[in-house]
């Protein structure tokens, strides 16, 4: 029962004279696991920041479950089911691991503290962080921090999750663990947009890959199609300055 969940059309974003997104059109179906790739500066994180409400757009529209996204604050979008991670984890270092989880669980006021605590402990157990629930987040290792960020997002019960370079500086073993969890979320019906430079992960996980280059979508297809598209190879290898 795949339906259009996220509908981006004509999205434009400029920073001063630089066009970061140049009329981007893209739809994401409910339950997809979509890879978003492209060389540095191609506009991936900008797109993510607009969809999650952190940047204003200069043109175009975005609908999430047929409701407009643009003009809403990040916290409103988070409560509507758009979860996201950050390239550099933004865990709350002086709060405990459990408190980190509760911020997400209690923010919409729908759960009581004890309900939220139960759910949080369950999620922490899944991610093998249960033992650390009452430790300050500052005592976590970098990898555990990444997992906590994952767990926190799940605490929101999101319908779509935007992951921005989740594998940076992560051990291969942990990466596999994270892969498993991303698949598990996706299997449970959560839509996922994955930004990564780690092509192995992208081609491993995603059924569909969208490639951005200089603010334009240059390829939208299966991993196989993307791999064989000369435009994509050019974008990565090429003298991208010559693109214009």
């Amino acid at each position: 029962m795949m339906h259009e969940q996220l509908d981006i059309s004509g999205l434009v974003k400029r920073f001063g004279g630089l066009t970061a997104l140049n009329s981007v059109d893209m739809t994401v179906g409910s339950g997809e696991l979509l890879g978003l790739i492209g060389p540095n500066g191609s506009g991936k994180t900008t797109l993510l920041n607009i969809v999650s409400g952190y940047y204003k757009a200069d043109g175009g529209s975005i609908n999430f479950e047929r409701r407009p996204v643009l003009g809403h604050a990040p916290h409103q979008l988070a409560r509507q089911g758009i979860g996201r991670s950050f390239q550099v984890t933004k865990i709350f270092r002086r709060l405990t691991v459990l408190q980190n989880m509760l911020v997400a669980g209690l923010s919409d006021g729908a759960q009581s503290q004890s309900e939220a605590t139960d759910r949080a402990m369950g999620l922490l157990r899944d991610l093998k962080l249960e033992r650390l629930a009452h430790e300050r987040a500052s005592s976590l290792s970098g990898g555990q921090g990444k997992l906590l960020e994952f767990a926190r997002i799940m605490m929101l019960s999101p319908k779509i999750v935007l992951l921005d370079e989740p594998f940076g500086g992560v051990h291969p073993e942990l990466k596999r663990f994270m892969h498993d969890h991303i698949r598990k979320w996706n299997d449970s019906g959560v839509t996922i947009i994955l930004i990564s430079h780690d092509m192995g992960s992208i081609f491993d996980l995603c059924q569909r890959v969208v490639t951005l280059s200089y603010g334009d979508i240059i390829c939208d297809g299966t991993p196989e199609e993307t791999r064989n598209d000369p435009a994509v190879l050019d974008a990565y290898l090429g003298d991208h300055h010559g693109a214009a």
């Binding site: 060389p39 370079e165 430079h197 003298d239 300055h241």
Partner: protein, 239 residues
């Protein structure tokens, strides 16, 4: 003359995350060495560790006889190393003349040397003359980038470390920069280690190439070998 040797380097921004995981890189004398790899594999981290902005977790960095593990950024210039960061390393509110003079800081007390270094810049880069008494921030991005290269050369370094030489430049300017770098190696026998996203142009100009993947060595070889065997390997590796 000396070469830069990085052996089994582990480094990163926090103690427990290694961005670099046992990297080996050598910048061979009088050669241009280019390091390529996707964003986030640790190219800039490598440069930051070499110049002392980050301390290695383990591994060695040597420049000639000098152990570079405890080096301070401000000592580089005295070791004969110039670093050209990705962000513009100029002083935007100072005039171009003042910028050029600041680059003689390390040898400002050797007046004749400093003076001739300043004059040489304006000879080598005549376009800077018209900006001499204007604020450097008024120049275009490409002009600033070129000036930065000139400033780096003023201390007559043996080794140039360059982070993304042509980022944000139009193809013509980029071409000029690559030509310029090539000349520095062929004609002036300098050693250059640069990291570059611009895979084709960055490898085209190089003598020796390293390809990184997630903080470790993936491929390496001379330009010739690279041309013959590695082009396909690279695209294969990318996808």
């Amino acid at each position: 003359m000396a070469q830069l040797e990085v052996r089994n380097l582990h480094a990163g921004y926090s103690r427990d995350i290694d961005i670099l995981r046992g990297l080996d890189v050598t910048a061979r004398e009088s050669m241009l060495t280019t390091i390529i790899g996707a964003n986030g594999v640790g190219k800039s981290t490598l440069l930051k560790t070499i110049i002392g902005q980050l301390r290695p977790h383990t591994g060695t960095i040597r420049f000639g006889e000098r152990d570079m593990r405890d080096v301070n950024t401000r000592d580089l210039v005295n070791l004969g190393i110039a670093y050209v960061p990705q962000k513009h390393a100029i002083f935007p509110e100072m005039t171009v003349q003042e910028n050029v003079e600041m680059a003689t800081w390390a040898f400002r007390h050797e007046k004749p040397r400093a003076r001739s270094a300043v004059e040489r810049v304006f000879e080598r880069a005549p376009y800077l003359r018209e900006f001499r008494s204007k604020r450097a921030g008024l120049m275009s991005g490409g002009q600033q980038r070129l000036m930065q290269l000139e400033l780096a050369l003023m201390s007559d370094p043996e080794l140039l470390l360059i982070d993304e030489p042509t980022v944000g430049l139009d193809p013509k300017r980029a071409g000029q920069i690559y030509d310029h770098l090539r000349r520095l190696v062929t004609e002036e026998r300098r050693t250059i280690l640069m990291v570059d996203q611009n895979v084709i142009a960055g490898t085209d100009v190089a003598d020796y190439i390293y390809v990184l993947e997630l903080g470790a060595n993936k491929l390496e070889g001379t330009k010739k070998k690279f041309d013959e065997e590695y082009r396909d390997a690279i695209s294969e590796w990318l996808f």
